[in-house]
Every structure is written in C-alpha cells, then in structure tokens.
Symmetry: C2
Subunit: 239 residues, 2 copies
C-alpha cells in the first residue's frame, strides 16, 4: 500500500453487495424462514451461495451482448427459478418465490456500514455504485439505515460492472473533473481493478465472510487503501 493523500478526492463510490451489506446471511435467513414455514429441509447457506453465483454468468451474457440488459430484480427471479428444484423449492407457489426474491431489497448492513458512511458523508459525496437496480438500492438503503448522498445504478450506464461504462458514468454523475477525484470502495478485487483501469482511486475493504465458509478472501494489498471496515476508512481519510 502506497502513501495515500486524500486531498483531491471529491466523491466515494461504494460497491454495495458484500461491501456494505451482508447479502449472504440475509439471503440464507430468508430462505431458512420460507423453508421452515413449508416444512422443507433447506441447506440455507448452500442455497444463498447458489442463488448468488448464478448472477455472474447472467451478467457475462449481458456484457458480451448475448442478451439485453435487464433489471437485476428480474435476473434474480430467473436464477431463483433455476436453482429452486435443487433445493426443493420448486413446488412453492410463484407468489412465495416472488416475495423471497424481494430479500435483495432488504439486506442487512455490516455492523460498521451505517456509521462509517455517516462519518464519510461529513466530507465527501458518498454514493452507491452497484449492479443493483436504483429502486432496489434506495429501498435497501432505507431498510439498512444507509444514508447515501446519491444512488448510482449501472442501469444509468446501460451496462454492468466491471464494464468501464459503469465507472465512467459514475465519474460523470458525481461531477468529478478527473477520474482520480473519485475513490472506489469495494471488497472485491475485480471491481477495484476495473475502477483503477478507468483512472479511479481504490480502497479495498476486508469482509472475511463474504466468500463463504472456508473460502479465501481476495488479496487487497495492491490498492491505494486497504481497510478492515468503513469506520476505519473514515479514520484513514482523516475524518
């Protein structure tokens, strides 16, 4: 990690799923509750993992032009229908699965997130920059007590991260004159690498359980900043 001078930073853009909210625990818990109501024996952690992992394949199809961009809500619902049989959820009424699909609007924040963002907002424009739909991000922010100055969904760029168009649109929307006035914050190395290739500065946040039990987190050592959580990021930025 190099010396980092926060002067010149105008805005912070945050990856949301995994970096700010704990999708894994929230989704597993929603699956567990639904299964319990219907007397289904569900491996809730495996279910959460499987549902989420279907997502990167779909996004790759969009980014390569094989299929048009869709709302993340619709992609999540499509993946849920695909994974349901393996978990014994395919005999549930559609309305139940529709309701389960909304768990992605009601994810719990990591314990440091709300306070960390609040502190960072004292000095910076603090923005979500996510593959989630705008309304999903706004609803989730309200649910989890996250005070965003601006919610930037990649639907505004008609693309998905890590396509450069998504970062370039964010740089424009936060009103930066130059990409290095924007600090991208994420728990995923590929997100930060893409941001860096667009000229943004980068902060890696350690979320040790983001990859699931027994999985090794990404290596965060090559970025401008590397922090254990969002409160530590505020401290590192001198707030």
């Amino acid at each position: 990690m190099k010396d980092f001078d926060p002067a010149g930073i105008r805005a912070l853009t945050f990856d949301v799923f995994g970096t700010v909210v704990d999708w894994r625990t929230s989704v597993a818990e929603a699956g567990r509750q639904l299964a319990r109501r219907h007397g289904i024996d569900l491996d809730a952690n495996a279910f959460a993992e499987k549902w989420r992992s279907g997502y990167s394949g779909k996004l790759a199809e969009v980014n390569s032009g094989q299929r048009p961009r869709e709302r993340l809500n619709d992609l999540h619902r499509e993946i849920l229908a695909e994974v349901a049989p393996a978990f014994g959820l395919d005999h549930l009424p559609d309305a139940e699965l529709d309701r389960l699909n909304l768990v992605w609007h009601r994810l719990r924040a990591w314990p440091d997130s709300a306070h960390g963002l609040w502190r960072l907002r004292q000095r910076y424009l603090v923005c979500a920059l996510s593959n989630g739909d705008s309304d999903m991000l706004a609803t989730m922010g309200k649910f989890a007590g996250l005070g965003w100055d601006m919610v930037i969904s990649v639907e505004m760029a008609n693309s998905y991260k890590p396509e450069p168009a998504a970062y370039i649109k964010a740089i424009e929307l936060v009103g930066a004159q130059r990409p290095d006035q924007v600090l991208m914050v994420a728990a995923h190395a590929n997100d930060l690498e893409a941001a860096r290739s667009c000229g943004m500065r980068t902060a890696f946040v350690h979320r040790p359980t983001e990859w699931g039990p027994g999985k090794e987190p990404d290596d965060g050592s090559g970025f401008d900043l590397e922090v254990p959580d969002l409160v530590a990021l505020a401290v590192k930025l001198g707030i």
Copy 2:
C-alpha cells in the same frame, strides 16, 4: 381537487428549485454578500430574478435541439456572464463569479421541507427529480438537510423537464410498474402538467413567494392534490 386515494403510490418525485428549496432568497443573499465585499451597489432581488430567468431560454434551446445538453452548472455560469454587466458585476475576477455560481449547490430549504421529506420517507421512496445536475442536487441535499432516497437528475434522461423523456426515465428508475404509481410534487403548474401527460399523479405545493414580489403564483387547483407545504402533504397522504 378530486378525491385522492394514496394506495398504489410507490414513489414521490419532487421538483427541487422553488418547490423544496428557496433559490430566490439564497441567490439574492449570495449576490448581496459578494457585492458588499466589492463595494458594488446591487439590486440583489432583481439580480436573482434575472439570473434565474435566463435559464428557461437556454433549456428551450436544448429541448428544441438548437444546442446540446450541458450541465446546469455550466448553463448557470454562462447566464451569469451574460447578466453580470447589467448589475456591475462584470469587472469581478472570474474566480469570484465561479464561486458565486456554486450558490446553486447551497440553496436553503423552505422551512417545512426537511421535516416533510423525512415524514414522507417513512412510507414512500422520496426522490428529487430536477433539471439540476446529480452532484448539485446531492451537495444541496447535504447542505440543506434533505434526506433523498434517490436523486434523479434529468441528465440521466439526456433531456430537461418538461420533456416527457425526463419523467419517463424517473418512472423507470423508481421501479414503478405503471406511471400512476408515482406522484410528482411541484410548485409549478407546467411541471405537473407534463408529469400528468406522462400518466403520473400530481401534487401542487403553494410557494407564494416563488414568483417574486407582486407576482401571482400558478393556479394549483386542477391537480390530484393541492397543499400549502410538504408537511401538509404528508398529512394528506395519511402519514
């Protein structure tokens, strides 16, 4: 005003300048302070009026295709340069006028706005929908204590209100299934008429001093709701 059933409303979109913030008083005061520092005798109210009124002509040029869309910040700066001579401000250094131009990021809210929005957020997605740039709206929200769930700038639609594209983009971004799930809130009849023609529902807010001394406010009687302020809007919606 017809009977209005708030059931089915998912999101509220707010015009910002004049409806949520008092641009007139804020801009006049900034002009007054600058003039005082330089010993210039300024009619601050006339100056604010003149600066603002240059804006609709520029937007009409954009919407008719005579000129490309630009950031509102740049349009404001261009108009400021045009009106400066008539007010004796044209001999000031460019940096002073650049700084004055930022007053549009630091407008004061009307006294009811912050509390009204906070109450409305308990039930609805509460969104700015403005011709202002995204970062201008986000900075202003922070300055004025306005907690938006989402900031929607018409730059996301590459247009300006009252072009339909601006409202249609907002309906999409708030995740509405139908336009009538969105309530447009404004102090200006033309904004609400355009929203209504896109299928949105409409609420007129009375801001008696928005048009300046001696000017008659718009007639707000033809819309779904007509309220004196944003707290009254919350009450009317049963919050």
